[in-house]
Amino acid sequence: MIRDAKKEWLIAFVLLTPFLAVYGLTFVYPTIDMFLLSFTDAPLIGEGDYVGLENYTRLGSDRRFDTAIWNTAYFVALSVVPGTAVALGIALGVSRLTGRMQALILALFFLPYILPVSVVYRLWDWTMNFQFGIAMHVFDMLGIDRVPVFKTTTWFMPAVAFITIWWTCGFNILLFLAGLRAIPQEIYEAASLDNAGRWTTFRRVTWPLLWPITALNLTIQLILQMKIFDQVYLFSTGGRPNDNLVMVYYIFQRAFQSNHGGRAAAIAVVLFVIVVAVSILNFQLTRISGSGKR
């Protein structure tokens, strides 16, 4: 049978059209529109006048924008690598168990992941409540001064990062477990025949073979945590919102509270550029370091 290249192209195009249409309408078009919006003084809803680069230049002297950038970076530092490390540690432990026990322990670690963020917020907000929280009674018993965790800038980000890791690491554990199971058992047998110790086995066998999964985990976490909003917003309510600002929170404030659509779009563009740049950098770094290990 002779293949009709033209016809194949046509079929491919027809099959792709629904996806392209939806993708264009719900992603490409809004993204382009966001760029255009960032050069105007538009309110949240409606048209605005062209103002050139003003929305960008004023970010330079914007204190809240500074706070947002630093807090986001701080949160990423507190959550990405520690979160991945915790997940790896737990996955290594769980993988040593077998049968029902493994399923049970895995389920326990995975449980928080199924909770919606509002429930996570309620749980921890009451646990850490300065007057009535369970954690405060523990502090009292240990003779430590009570800490208003979500109301001081010192403890806010570390606490939110800790809760985020507690909440989301179940998913990362699953990824790591899948990765661990994919490592052929023979390699471990060979290693033990060579009298390799546990640490050496981990360093020379598990770690390099698991690296693609680790890199994947780091990338997912990185992108996710740069877009942090829900937890920070919820735990800040009524407290010190402008000291706890992160990028997406600041976009929300500008757009929905101050009715500045154009200025919000400018911050969104900055975040977009940062996420793209950091993702590429992260991808390249993990690729280079990965190939060096093999």
Binding site: R63, F130, K151, G238, R240, P241, N242, F256, Q257
Partner: protein, 421 residues
């Protein structure tokens, strides 16, 4: 099968006939009243539906108070998904008008409702007026008041014979009352304060500024002239109470109410909307003897922050018949707002507060004289519940009220940030 289709036809015919005969209007209603007052509003809606059977039905939905409510409204209205009527805070009206979210209540509308300017207090009417036009129908005013535990005050020897707390007329007097409560050793905190929530404390602090005739905004400038100093004075009083261990620290809203109702805090400054909580607990025999009075005069003269719940009609097309139905809803609820007073709020409709039944209601009657001394938010698109001013204030109030930041430094920062909005 035959039977079923006959039934269906009969049902269809009945529906058609009934709608032709009555032309019943369904009014879609959104509110943010989720607490004890929400229960009472649902009762009023049920009463309204009962009284207008076959003519108007209210289809009500309660949404989350604050930011979630207002973000939803400002996106729903422009795309034509808004309700027919919604509750609105008077303090949010300037921003709403700026965003073209509200439909003007015209002179014609007022006369159809049988309501007029003379039915409302000047400050309340003014709060729903922008450039001489009205954009909402005020339902109530809801100030903050001082709740107190009579048993504990009596034990500390600071209760007057008429059952009110002593020392309400000066800073020294009130501090003395707090000190006496502390010395009595019967409470954990003399004053339960929502010190973990700067949004909430804005109400108290703005009241204290008002007691010195301070203004937040003068001709569009924030904290102009000596107003910064007046804000600093207000913060200093509260910081001093914290320093002396006279008020609870890092306490959020629910914890404050819990401290007061469990007797661990002898007094509490909170909105009148907590009145139903106290009334209901007391009725069940779960609460001590309590009272609520106007805030103490810490500075020159009495002054209390208040906001107003009002009814607004979203901008957009609406049939004349539907609009008449909405006007009837606003009119009927306003005129029957005596029941709304059981939610603690002070009804905005004058004839209700002038009635003998209202004057016999307690503790409303004790605190209602404060309507003379009410101040509202500045008229700015930045003001109001869940607005940008609230966030700035909250950020610096929390550390100041808990002894982490000096009041002078806080005022300096607040001024910079406010003028930066």
């Amino acid at each position: 099968m035959f039977k079923l289709s006959v039934l269906a036809k009969a049902a269809l015919a009945a529906t058609l006939m009934s709608s032709a005969a009555y032309a019943e209007e369904t009014v879609v209603w959104w509110d943010f009243l989720g607490g004890g007052d929400g229960v009472r509003m649902k009762q009023m809606i049920a009463d309204f539906n009962e009284a207008h059977k076959g003519e108007i039905t209210i289809d009500a939905t309660t949404l989350e108070w604050g930011v979630p409510f207002y973000t939803k409204v400002q996106t729903a209205v422009p795309v034509g998904e808004a309700p027919d009527i919604m509750t609105y805070h008077a303090s949010r009206i300037p921003l709403a008008v700026d965003q073209n979210l509200l439909s003007e209540i015209t002179a014609d509308d007022w006369s159809k409702m049988g309501l007029s300017e003379s039915d409302y207090a000047t400050a309340t009417w003014d709060a729903v007026t922008i450039d001489g036009k009205q954009y909402a129908v005020p339902l109530d005013t809801h100030p903050i008041v001082l709740y107190y535990n009579k048993d504990l005050l009596a034990a500390a020897g600071r209760l007057n014979d008429d059952g009110t707390p002593m020392g309400m007329d000066s800073r020294e007097g009130f501090t003395e009352t707090l000190q006496a409560l502390k010395d009595s050793g019967s409470v954990k905190f003399p004053l339960g304060s929502v010190t973990a929530d700067g949004n909430f404390m804005f109400r108290t602090i703005y009241s204290l500024m008002g007691q010195q005739d301070g203004e937040l905004m003068t001709d569009g400038e924030f904290l102009a002239g000596d107003n910064a100093e007046k804000l600093q004075n207000s913060l200093a009083v509260l910081a001093e109470w914290t320093e002396a261990g006279l008020q609870s620290t890092y306490t959020d809203y629910p914890a404050t109410v819990a401290l007061f109702t469990s007797g661990e805090a002898a007094m509490m400054i909170n909105g009148v909307w907590e009145v139903p909580t106290m009334t209901d607990l007391h009725k069940d025999g779960k609460l001590f003897e309590w009272g609520a009075v106007e805030l103490p005069v810490i500075f020159d003269h009495p002054s209390t922050y208040a906001d107003s719940h009002a009814f607004a009609i979203p901008a957009g097309d609406m049939t004349a018949a539907k609009r008449d139905a909405v006007l009837e809803v606003m009119s009927w609820i306003s005129k029957n707002s005596l029941f709304w007073a059981t939610a603690g709020h002070i009804p905005a409709y004058g004839p209700v507060t002038a009635s003998a039944e209202y004057k016999a209601m307690e503790p409303n009657a004790t605190y209602s004289p404060l309507t003379e001394n009410m101040i509202f938010d500045p008229k700015s698109t930045l003001a109001g519940i869940a607005g940008p001013i609230f966030d700035v204030m909250s950020t610096y109030f929390v550390p100041t009220l808990n002894g982490e930041m000096d009041p002078a430094e806080a005022v300096e920062e607040i001024k910079i940030e406010l003028n930066d909005l």
